[in-house]
């Protein structure tokens, strides 16, 4: 399946901009998504901290889906939609993998000593803390994860 990236511009009179792309069950595709997002962030002068937070979130969530959600299927497909409004960035991730609500996991104990620390669950915890909104629903056989990050003027 050839990579798909489509750029869309909102109808006249609206300030929204964004892009949509689809990937298959391949970790290297996660790199492509993160690069595409970084290019989009650059061309839209997004604050660096916002771009970096989203890069972290995409790595965590897309990797989870590719590694676990697509375990039992060879036709795994994931679409990533980015919508930029003047004050907020919305990411919608839709996949046809096993039903999985990432936000129901219990937060890991981040106060344990070095010896007792485990990494499991930490990625999702990071995303939840770094984004301003995180939602999930399972509809028509698809996982739909929505992330919102506020875009405030860069400080310093």
């Amino acid at each position: 399946v050839p990579p798909e990236v489509s750029l869309s511009v909102a109808p006249e009179g609206e300030m929204a901009e964004g892009f949509q792309m689809s990937i298959g069950p391949d970790l290297n595709e996660v790199v492509r998504v993160n690069q595409t997002f970084a290019d989009f962030a650059d061309s839209h002068a997004l604050p660096t901290a916002v771009r970096r937070s989203v890069n972290v979130a995409l790595d965590e969530l897309l990797t989870n889906t590719v590694n676990y959600g697509f375990l039992k299927r060879s036709d795994g497909a994931l679409s990533i939609e980015v919508d930029l409004q003047p004050d907020r960035l919305t990411l919608t991730l839709i996949d046809n993998g096993a039903p999985f609500d990432p936000w129901i996991r219990i937060a890991p104990d981040t106060t344990l000593s070095m010896e007792s620390r485990r990494i499991g669950g930490l990625g999702i915890h990071l995303v939840k803390k770094m984004m301003d909104e995180s939602r999930y629903e399972y509809r028509d056989g698809k996982n739909i994860v929505v992330l919102v990050k506020q875009v405030l003027p860069e400080n310093g």
Binding site: N55, T110, L126
Partner: protein, 110 residues
């Protein structure tokens, strides 16, 4: 990702350029393991040119810190940008790993 290794006195400094994510972290792990198995006891990770780190990168940092501790060594890191610092803070890594603002501070008393 690009990785550079240099030494200053008895401290081995590993610099990581780019991102430590699920795809690139194995490469960082390899470099850090090579430094430790090469005999480095004092290891400093230079994050000055690190763009962002995800849990895959945290896993590598934790593994390296444990490995060094077991062999009587120590790990320090410096130069974290705002997002990397935020990831360290949220995950509690700021309290279990020695984090310094600058290279000078990381070298002091190491």
């Amino acid at each position: 990702m690009e990785i550079s290794t240099r030494t200053q006195g008895d401290v081995t400094i590993v610099g990581i350029l780019g991102s430590m994510d699920s795809v690139t972290s194995p490469q960082a792990q390899q470099a850090l393991e090579a430094a430790v198995s090469g005999g480095a006891k004092k290891l400093a990770v230079d994050f000055t040119k690190l763009d962002y780190i995800s849990s895959a990168g945290l896993r590598v940092m934790l593994g390296t810190a444990k490995q060094l501790k077991a062999s009587g060594g120590a790990l320090r890191s410096f130069g974290l940008n705002q997002t990397v610092k935020e990831v360290f803070d949220i995950s509690g890594f700021s309290t279990i790993l020695a984090v310094f603002a600058t290279e000078d501070e990381a070298m002091r008393g190491f």
